[in-house]
Symmetry: C2
Subunit: 199 residues, 2 copies
Amino acid sequence: MPGRNREIEALIEMMARLPGLGPRSARRAVLHLIKKRAVLLGPLADSMHKVAATARECSVCGNIGTTDLCEICADPKRTNGELCIVEDVADLWAMERGGAFRGRYHVLGGTLSALDAIGPEELRIPQLAARVAAEHISEVILALNATVDGQTTAHYIADELAPTGVRVTSLAQGVPIGGELDYLDDGTISAALRARKGI
Amino acid sequence: MPGRNREIEALIEMMARLPGLGPRSARRAVLHLIKKRAVLLGPLADSMHKVAATARECSVCGNIGTTDLCEICADPKRTNGELCIVEDVADLWAMERGGAFRGRYHVLGGTLSALDAIGPEELRIPQLAARVAAEHISEVILALNATVDGQTTAHYIADELAPTGVRVTSLAQGVPIGGELDYLDDGTISAALRARKGI
């Protein structure tokens, strides 16, 4: 485009490829970065270089960190024997923000999907069965998304683990905290009613 | 946060400060970058370093480029004598995408604002008067935003330039191309009616 420098153009194009940013917000972000180039653009580039050089997947659970064993797997204070299964690293981070779970994780790296030809071998499901045996796991908590693919994957894993005799649970489904019934979908209300409990 | 590495954490915090990104989209973007670190994160960091080292404001018009004189000011094929005044570099880029203007630009760097204590000296208004005299400008086109601050600034500049005798025009206001009357605000419809013309 005339009036725009080739290097700035290249930076905008790369930024526009990030999820959540389009061409317009990429232009805005790059202009903002250039205006604050001393305090923002330089340090951001340094930080990206650092992460690009050191980031790697944990060889045990699939979480992202900078060491072969991630901070959670290496933490001696976490409870052994409880394994929380999540689809993605973002879900692991979401669980950790909640702060209610003190065990270990296993990141699948996606869900089973016939449409996208993603079978158990494409996910970390074989490693999961191996961990359950090797780490003396007493409970596997399926924290998969409440989507069709997520629930299909949950059922597949529960079937796979049935012979091992390990206890398999999943997150409760119901009304979210602060949720208003009038704004909830019918499926959630039905699920919450079926799972009702005494006060 | 537990489970997240300090360097990754720092990168997410910096990304979350960009306009258009919040904490959640910054996390998503950083995870995406880490997953594609070889093809995306490294090159993006390189590109940012390059821009951080070379980006600068054009000493004449205020556009952003990598040379003292920006590509538009340095282009001998652009029409001399026509000066388009914009608030911001993003507006200059928007004008260039339109491709209808072939003259030179002058970036103010904002609008007059009593609330934010931004007077003519904080903008590039003194330089504008100097350019009008030095570059034998025949027409100054005010392409400022159709906001209160933008129009206040336009009137101020028109008053300032009145003694020089230069022709001062502004972008037409009316119905946008593809716009439906039913969705337009009353002010735009009134302005379009007042500025009606024969077919």
